[in-house]
Symmetry: C2
Subunit: 618 residues, 2 copies
């Protein structure tokens, strides 16, 4: 049985940075070659990054992507890497579809290319376009209708490899079904699959099932990194044709997963050419079979797999050891998402308001873990309603973590506003204080160049318990998809990890244990306006994530009066009345169109099975 | 040849207001009956309003929509209107599609029902789902696969009527093609087609072409009203089977368009039943043929058409007389969009900053025309950089229009901030002033309940020449899709119309003629940071609306250096440098996902043909 050494390059491209992304392809192909791999697979849309959104509709951007793919093939050959078969995602276009109302302009493709011997040897594109959750692909792409199968040399004779893209695994029929007809021994699948809590199992089970359906081993390469509102967690894996996992890459760090695969010998009776085939989903998929010419290269020394690959962060490392779907995994996602947002948008530092409460304490800690405490600036902005412990708890955190801190009391500015305006009270007066704090942060951001982080959690944001242009003002919201209950869990977990590592817990115990308060009115507590968070969060999860209606929520055991109240908060009765600290005079859309970061926060359905990875290289 | 009197009810539903929308169906069916109509057609998604967005994914909302349709049929019968055939859009569901990853939860349908004799006699749903521009329907709906054809009595014998929904007209194949096979004499089409400048021709030409393809007369009923970011302009119309326009409704006001149609007699050889038919688009459409039972009703007196229908606003009336695609049409769209946003979101009044410049002057005028000057509150917020004429021009406008005005100097608040912060200058100092003004408006909004209107135009917003949480803070932005050049044109047009009407021009001449300035630094002018607006706007139109790349823009005659500069402004280099007044430290997404209000601002391709309307009732 022939044996092929393949490398899965789980790397971190940046949307729009075509040159930098191409550099990654060349660099990691070099490493794969050094590890003796004959085939290396990169993620979906590697050349452009993912998601490109409206950039896909700009003809000049598609041109640039296609041009970059060709030039990358030439660069690989020029560097002596032309003999490696390289599969990489890119933004392509279909030439056979004329413009039509409703068809994405320029017929863009979520494509994958096979680079070999200095040229693009084959190309394909995603057949099934996802348009749910965080995906809007009917807006940006047209579907592909081909399955490339290429024959390449392996130890012990040639093998046949097919290529499909991401969503083609998730839907029945199409490229996976046709892979079986084509008789390929391996299906290589570039992906950009965003992190959700517990998704790791779903992917493994899916790959196993599709491998069995295709009758082929399956190499699943996922993207790494934060991009805009998404986090790609890696976790690339290889299964054999019976669906048994052979190897898996770590999550939340870049990696080169090198695996030796036993594959069936290519059938000499199958010759290059095109074969239209029933996709089993109402479409015809054309198998496009090619044979890679032998490329004479000097034999690379086969390095030991342990010598190649990327470097895990401490948070990625904790995640590999932690329970699946657990707090380590969530924390690693938040750190990676924050780090990449700062870096990819060209900021050197962040600034945030530190109140002494748990939300800003956790946000500051995530930021310090993401980019280092020396790049985190915090501002204490006490008012006459701030309690003693607000300042001392915030100062305690600053000392524990070594952040840059300054204090800007807001009282004089509040007084200046009050002198200019008619007498105000209630919500208007509360919101004014929050907005002054937001303005201080934005002014310091404009003057000094920091990215403003907001500290709102998912429970607050869902119920509108925040101030527009106040505490919600800023460029990135690290914990926007974390319910308040989970904020506390993460804070406790982070402190415990510090103790286990022999370090100072970063978050003052008092910030964790004291009752939450916005401190915008005398003696104010969150529980004056909202139910207890453990009750609220369970209800929000069922309403916002599970789309239950009022009757369903009551049937599921939620208190009927609370159901009415929370639906009104989330869907935005206008105005909702004085019991809400929130900005309630602005209408809110019924629900958000896009799902935010780390959408699912429920643990996975079952424990992760023990897996037998032959090579797991980081 | 049988003759059928039909009524097109061009009315204004509200998203989510099922009860109010059902009331509109009953009220306008009563009017249609009074006008002697045997068939009345309402817009797409009439029962729920359009667009419902994520509400479509909530099972309880679909249930409520379906329930409302049934109860509306019963109400009609109870009121003696059961003999009228009523076609209305609603949110339905398909029962034959099980849950599947990527399929909208609950299989929602953009449906239309035929109500007759107290029951739902037939239902269908949109077959082609638009997912471009302002539409995201792959996210929310599954496609329909039926064409109902119902036989109903007319003067001189029964006729056959088919039903299709909106986008089914815009795409080749599907329901229109199958209508010809079915031999229907009339195709009734509920629509929710948003306004774009010049779209009126496109619709007429489309209806004429599809009528010829279907071999049937075509009744095109469009929705009216502003909803969220969209404006539906009405302009319902009827064409005969040769594509000749028989009647059209006015635009920008509700109306009942009553028309007598000569239709072919129904073929007695065609019997009730189902006939699967090739849709010509790769799908099978099942013709579902029914016969409406005769309903005995007392004959209504046939009123003269002039006695029924809604009332045109002055701005809608000017639009009917004005040149197609002209300024009257744009102004009517802005007034309607603003009026309905205020009303549908439950506000009684608006508040905005009045600077003496043209943008706030036009915005205030639109608001006063939309909801009346007594509900418009303006705030003058001079600073040390404000020129003399800023205050006098603003005061002049207030007097001309009779608005509620107050003055809040921002100097003391600026000083209070300055005392608390390290020395700031440049952008940070400019933005601070704009943010203080935004906070004053938000505080007054919170205290008094006004909706805050922002005054930014499309040129500013596209280039980022504005301040986050400053002048961009607010609930609705009436001129956000109006380039600065068009702002001036509209202001001049509005003043001229006032003169023609024998009224005082609402906008001070000096606000129109003086050079634009943000007045955030000494002697500042927009032209310090931006090219002349006529040059900028032409370039923005090609880049933002036409998706041209840099090379294309230069080839189209734009200055190469300016092309580079404007692309950097629009796509957000970070930071863009001190020459921009804009908030440049926040990254911006490459381009907006959603198209804003009144997207296209180019005039239509040709002059509107003279049309021969038999009844055009308002």
């Amino acid at each position: 049985m022939p044996q092929l050494r393949i490398a899965l390059a789980q790397v971190n491209p940046t949307v729009g940075d075509l040159g930098g992304n191409a550099d990654l392809v060349v660099d990691w192909t070099r490493r794969a070659r050094a590890a003796g791999a004959g085939l290396v697979v990169f993620p979906e849309m590697m050349i452009t990054g993912y998601p490109v959104e409206d950039l896909a509709l700009r003809a000049s951007f598609i041109d640039a992507s296609i041009d970059t793919v060709h030039r990358t093939a030439q660069r690989l050959a020029a560097e002596g890497l032309g003999g490696v078969a390289v599969i990489t995602g890119f933004l392509g276009r279909r030439a056979d579809l004329p413009p039509r109302l409703g068809r994405p302009a320029g017929a863009p493709l979520d494509a994958a290319a096979l680079l070999h011997d200095g040229a693009v040897a084959a190309a394909t594109a995603k057949h099934h376009l996802p348009n749910y959750g965080v995906f809007d692909e009917y807006r940006y792409f047209v579907p592909g209708d081909h399955l490339p199968v290429f024959r390449m040399p392996a130890d012990g004779g040639p093998v046949d490899v097919a290529i499909a893209v991401c969503e083609d695994l998730w839907q029945d029929g199409g490229p996976v079904a046709v892979t079986r007809v084509a008789g390929a021994g391996l299906l290589a699948v570039p992906n950009a699959s965003p992190y959700e809590r517990g998704k790791e199992y779903v992917r493994l089970e899916l790959c196993a099932r599709r491998a069995r359906e295709a009758g082929a081993a399956l190499a699943y390469v996922n993207m790494l990194g934060g991009q805009d509102e998404l986090v790609f967690d890696g976790g690339s894996l290889v299964v054999d044709a019976e669906g048994r996992e052979l190897a898996h890459a770590p999550r939340f760090c870049d990696a080169l997963l090198v695996t030796d695969l036993d594959l069936p010998a290519a059938d000499p009776a199958r010759h290059p050419g095109e074969t239209p085939t029933d996709g089993g989903d109402g479409t015809v998929i054309t198998i496009r079979r090619i044979e890679l010419p032998a490329v004479k290269t000097e034999d690379a020394e086969r390095l030991r797999p342990g010598q190649v690959g990327g470097a895990a962060t401490p948070w990625a490392a904790k995640c590999q050891d932690g329970p699946p779907g657990g707090l380590a995994e969530v924390y690693a996602a938040l750190v990676l998402g924050t780090a990449d947002y700062v870096r990819k948008n060209g900021f050197g530092s962040v600034i945030l308001a530190l109140s002494g409460g748990i939300d800003s304490a956790l946000t500051a800690t995530i930021a310090a873990d993401a980019i280092g405490p020396d790049r985190v600036h915090v501002v204490l902005m006490p008012s006459k309603y701030s309690s003693e412990h607000s300042v001392t708890d915030a100062e305690d955190l600053v000392k524990r973590q070594g952040l840059h801190a300054r204090t800007v009391p807001i009282g004089p500015v509040v007084n200046a506003f009050d002198a200019q305006l008619p007498p105000i009270s209630g919500l208007a007066a509360e919101n004014l204080q929050a907005r002054i704090r937001g303005m201080v942060l934005m002014t310091l951001s404009n003057a000094e160049g920091h990215l403003v982080l907001t500290t709102g959690n998912k429970s607050e944001i869902a119920t509108g318990y925040s101030t527009l242009y106040g505490d919600s003002a800023g460029g990135f919201a690290p914990i926007k998809d974390v319910f308040k209950s989970l904020v506390w869990e993460l804070a406790k977990w982070r402190n415990t990890e510090a103790v286990l590592d022999g370090r100072t817990p970063p978050i003052p115990e008092n910030s964790i244990t004291k009752p939450p308060s916005a401190e915008l009115a005398p003696g104010q507590l969150d529980t004056d306006s909202l139910p207890a968070y453990e009750v609220l969060d369970a209800l929000l999860d069922d309403y916002v994530e599970n789309d239950m209606g009022a009757a369903q929520l009551v049937a599921a055991g939620h208190d009927p009066a609370l159901v009415q109240r929370v639906i009104r908060l989330v869907d935005g009765a206008v105005p909702a009345g004085p019991q809400d600290h929130a900005e309630e005079l602005r209408p809110r859309p019924p629900t958000a169109h896009h799902q935010p970061l780390a959408r699912a926060v429920r643990p996975g359905p079952r424990a992760l099975p023990m897996i037998d990875g032959r090579f797991c290289v980081t």
